[in-house]
Amino acid sequence: MQAGSFLRPGVASSGMKVLLGMGGSPDGFDALEETLARARDAGDELTVAVLDTSDDHDPDDVESEIRDRVDEAGVETAVTQLPGHPGSQLSQFAEREEFDRIVIGGGQRSPMGKIELGEVAEFVLLNADTTVTLVR
């Protein structure tokens, strides 16, 4: 047997099917940048879901900002809106569409600098059947 003969799956097609969920807060956009960079390097098939997280961010505005970032990055990406309860919609969408991984932002910082995980992150971490990555 030749060394490595069965660890050679046609070179580059090893990317994952990745679902990034974000509502429009800064940690979500940080996660978007990281996820786009990884998708470019690893050949991930990336979908970004715009979540209805609060009245602070209009989903249409967030979607168009995301499309700008995606165009700048030049990574083929699907962008979609998921209205309704953000955590549960994201988890269910990930299962239904058989994603390998959910990616979410790593939380905001309090005045003290403490990381505060939001409601969406908590829900997804505890309830999703899909593996979850928190981006720092």
């Binding site: 910082r109 309090s110 003290m112 600098g113 403490k114 505060e116 995980l117 409601e119």
Partner: protein
């Protein structure tokens, strides 16, 4: 920051620093007001901080990040006290203003000085300094499993202010 409530009643009066005490290990500890002037000493203290005692991402681990973090915290508006042993800070407690006319509290004690009664005195002195500075409302977050800390905050007069987020949130009305 949704749904934070504060106790209706004002807390008792807390002692103001400086305070001298002998801790449970027989060490002479002095609790003093602190601030920007202590920047370098505090960087040293946080450099010696056990990473296993971190909570919610603070204090940062690398010195550069510690400096950046302290630079933000040690403003004229924040209230600071330190516990000093043999001339060096071994504990630091701080009130940092938020955007809603309230203050977020945090307390840090070096590993070798924990469970010796220093944290309690440090917190009392911090709340005393806060009262002297006319701070009205103080809140904090604490990990839900950290029962000793939660019990201490309750003893000082903190009440649960939001039980619905990832960490337990507690608040006190100082004046």
């Amino acid at each position: 920051m949704t749904g934070r409530t504060y106790p209706d009643e004002t807390a008792d009066s807390f002692p103001k620093p400086p305070i001298s005490l002998t801790d449970a290990e027989g060490r002479e500890i002095r609790i003093e007001e602190s601030g920007v002037a202590d920047f370098d000493r505090l960087v040293e203290m946080y450099d010696a901080f056990d990473p296993a005692d971190r909570a919610q991402g603070i204090p940062p681990v690398k010195e550069e990040a510690v400096r950046e973090w302290l630079d933000t915290l040690l403003s004229e508006e924040s209230v600071n006290v330190v516990a000093v042993h043999d001339g060096s800070p071994v504990g630091h407690a701080i009130l940092v203003p938020d955007s809603e006319v309230a203050y977020e509290l945090a307390v840090f004690v070096l590993h070798d000085y924990q469970s010796a009664g220093i944290g309690t005195k440090l917190l009392e002195a911090l709340l005393g300094s806060g009262q002297a500075a006319d701070v009205e409302k103080v809140w904090l977050t604490v990990e839900r499993w950290n029962e000793p800390a939660i019990a201490l905050y309750k003893k000082l007069g903190f009440e649960t202010s939001n039980a619905e987020s990832f960490e337990l949130e507690m608040a006190i009305r100082l004046s």
